[in-house]
């Protein structure tokens, strides 16, 4: 046990060292070297995480205290790492998927010159460091440091090609929207500190009886605001699709597998707190459901391969929040894990397509790629099956446990969630068929350029495809004779309020119904899109979906425009006329006054003497009479 405590600090430290080497040596490192360093440190972190995982497998939980971060007489905030099943699971996801994506990046980014290449890996390592800090932190403050760190890295990596103004705007949008959520998170931490004087997870959860219901509801809601920002839920979800401006591996790592799940991690970590706030749970459930549905409908009509995946991510995150809201934390964490595999796979697959198509992202210009990109096609197909929820792939188990939880909570929620799951299958297979089936719709030149990606890209794809296929078996429900190992593994840290009470017959019926529906939707998508031809005009409703429900335009007109108007008012009236006027006015008054007073200096000695005499007389009179 002590061994674990002695080396856990290495897990986040290694990526930090990688960041420093790559960041400081970016001018002298060769591309090969920076790739090896960038991936190598993550590999070592992964191995250490595996070691930690096997150590905590029995349900151990350690708190490693290193030093006091803040030490004021009434409270101390330590630099603590909490090592327990939940964090070790996230450690494995982050370092494991992270390592694969680093390897993939070495090939994907090969066109960049050495300096930018090293910079890319430096940012990516810094991201992994922050993310590890986030999941390992033993209190909300360390979690918040990681939380901000991943936000920063997300900003840096979305704006990686910063010469393109649109990309930097997307980066700014992501950062600002995250900041809105972060404010909520910060307020929640202050609230906790004010009421309990501690932010340690263990202390907070042990002292919940000191909090009133209002406190708990307020704190959980504010924490959830933080999660909304980070995990792209309504109303702060619009940054995630724009974040696709970054390199594709970044989208896979940050905007699909890890960072966006930070909100789910945080709520799952605070499950004890949330169990006491039914109102918050209800809100989380509805927001998650609404996000899942809204994003899925938007994904139906997008033509940018990465945008479809981005909206699909938002939708899947909505599913996870739905699970959290129904008290089904383990299902949410389970879905985080399977989603990390299949969504990273899909993003990397789309990256492979973009790579092969030479930076073409519009699926209208693709088609028939399966003959030239076999491995990408097969792995992408597996990813689609997994996300659609076809048994026995991983997505089936995780999504099914979410749906069952929803069914027991509320039948209406269940039916909406099921409908959304069907939409998921539809838009994913639409993407698959349009991209890989039918005939090629691009130019002759593009077709000749299309090629399968190098091994550094296909091997991670294959590994992720295998994981997407089998990861579901870590939590096979009792229904299929499974042991629910993940549930047992996580049970020491998570107090699941949701317990399945359904009979096996009902479960079979629900699962079977869902699978049949999804299969029907897939075959419909197949016949609709197998020989897809892009149409110019779409129906009125289709147009709304194509324009993403006009959410961006709505935010623009109700928030951005008024803010800019206020800013313009302050600029022209308050700043230019008021403050500048005051400052310049003082200067002008002094100028004018001195010009007038200067006239007294007539140069006539008589005048001077006269004034002197008058002055003396005045003094004399004052002396005499006052």
């Amino acid at each position: 046990m002590d061994n674990v405590l002695q080396m856990v600090w290495l897990i986040p430290l290694l990526p930090l060292i990688g960041f420093l080497i790559n960041g400081l040596g970016r001018n002298s490192l060769s591309k090969r070297m920076s790739g090896i360093i960038g991936s190598g440190v993550i590999l070592f972190s992964f191995l250490l995480s595996l070691y930690v995982f096997f150590n905590v497998k029995g349900g151990n939980s350690h708190l490693a205290h290193y030093f006091n971060l803040i030490d004021i007489n009434s409270f101390t905030i330590g630099f603590d790492f909490q090592i327990d099943p939940l964090s070790s699971l996230f450690l494995l996801i982050i370092t494991g998927v992270g390592f694969l994506i680093h390897v993939y990046s070495t090939a994907y980014m090969h066109e960049e010159d050495g300096k930018d290449y090293a910079k890319y890996f430096a940012y990516l390592n810094l991201f992994v460091f922050s993310m590890l800090l986030l999941v390992m932190g033993g209190n909300y403050v360390i979690l918040f440091i990681g939380w901000e760190g991943v936000g920063l890295c997300s900003y840096l990596l979305i704006g990686y090609w910063f010469k393109n103004v649109n990309y930097t705007n997307a980066a700014k949008k992501a950062f600002v929207m995250n900041r809105i959520g972060d404010l909520g998170f910060l307020l929640a931490v202050f609230w906790l500190l004010n009421k309990l004087g501690t932010t340690n997870f263990t202390d907070v959860f042990a002292n919940l009886s000191k909090l009133s219901t209002t406190d708990i509801t307020g704190i959980t809601l504010l924490l959830f605001v933080g999660a909304i920002g980070k995990s792209a839920q309504i109303p702060l979800f619009t940054w995630l699709p724009d974040a696709m401006a970054g390199p594709t591996p970044v989208s896979a790592l940050i905007h699909a597998a890890t960072m966006v799940t930070a909100g789910i991690y945080m709520i799952a970590r605070s499950n004890v707190l949330y169990n006491l706030a039914p109102l918050t749970q209800e809100i989380i459930m509805w927001i998650g459901l609404a996000t899942a549905l809204l994003a899925a409908t938007i994904a139906l009509k997008q033509n940018d391969i990465k945008k479809v995946l981005a909206y699909s991510t938002v939708s899947q995150l909505g599913f996870m929040f739905l699970a959290l809201g129904t008290g089904n934390y383990i299902a949410a964490v389970f879905h985080v894990m399977t989603h990390a595999f299949f969504k990273a796979l899909l993003f990397l697959g789309s990256g492979s397509v973009i790579h092969g198509m030479h930076h073409e992202q519009d699926i209208n210009n693709m088609g028939g790629l399966k003959s030239k990109m076999k491995i990408t096609y097969i792995t992408f197909f597996i990813g689609c099956l997994a996300i659609a929820g076809i048994p026995p792939l991983s997505g089936f188990f995780s999504k099914d446990s979410i749906l069952i939880g929803a069914y027991e909570h509320n039948k209406i929620v269940y039916s909406i969630a099921l409908f959304t799951a069907c939409l998921t299958a539809f838009y994913m297979f639409r993407l698959l068929f349009i991209t890989f089936n039918g005939k090629f719709r691009g130019t002759e030149k593009q077709w000749n350029h299309v090629h399968e990606s190098p091994a550094a890209m296909t091997v991670p794809l294959i590994i992720l495809a295998i994981l997407s296929a089998i990861a579901g078996f870590v939590n096979t429900p009792a229904l299929f004779g499974g042991t629910e190992s993940l549930t047992h593994f996580l049970s020491p840290v998570i107090q699941q309020t949701h317990q399945t009470t359904l009979s096996h017959a009902t479960e079979y019926m629900l699962m079977g119904g869902a699978v049949v529906l999804i299969l029907a939707v897939i075959s419909w998508a197949y016949f609709k899109f197998k020989n897809y031809e892009p149409k110019e005009e779409s129906s009125a409703f289709g147009k709304i979906l194509e324009n993403k429900w006009y959410v961006d335009e709505l935010y623009n007109s109700i928030l951005v425009k008024p803010l800019q108007a206020i800013a313009a008012f302050f600029n022209t009236i308050v700043e230019k006329k008021g403050i500048d006027g005051m400052v310049n006015g003082v200067g002008k008054a002094v100028n004018y006054g001195s010009r007038q007073i200067r006239l007294l200096q007539s140069g006539q000695i008589g005048n001077y003497v006269l004034l002197m005499v008058l002055g003396i007389l005045v003094l004399f009179i004052i002396q005499l009479f006052f």
Binding site: L599, S602, G603, Q604, I605, G606, L610, V613
Partner: protein, 110 residues
């Protein structure tokens, strides 16, 4: 003689000096008027000193009285030095401008 005659004379001399400085334009006359004011004050100093000499304080402290009398000589010496400098300035001024009209000397204006 009573002190008020001295005061009256000194005031008369001082006023003449002030009026002269204020109204005349010839530098030498202005200069003389300044001397006149100075001497009016000197006269007053001597007169008050003499007055104090006859008072009880003066009778017991004769040194206080003689101090003022000697002080006046110092003032006269300094005034003489001042006159030497002042006249030298006026002579230089005349050499350069051929006038001794003070209204003509307004180059420091504004």
């Amino acid at each position: 003689m009573e002190i008020r005659w001295y005061i009256g004379l000194a005031v008369a001399l001082f006023s003449i000096g002030v009026m002269g400085v204020l109204t005349r334009r010839n530098a030498i006359i202005v200069f003389m008027c300044i001397e006149l004011m100075l001497n009016a004050v000197n006269l007053l100093l001597v007169a008050f000193s003499k007055m104090h000499a006859l008072s009880p304080v003066g009778l017991t402290n004769p040194s206080v009285v003689s101090n003022a009398q000697i002080f006046v000589f110092f003032i006269m010496v300094v005034a003489a030095a001042e006159v030497a400098v002042g006249l030298a300035i006026i002579v230089m001024m005349y050499r350069n401008t051929h006038v001794v009209d003070i209204n003509f000397l307004n180059r420091l204006k504004n």
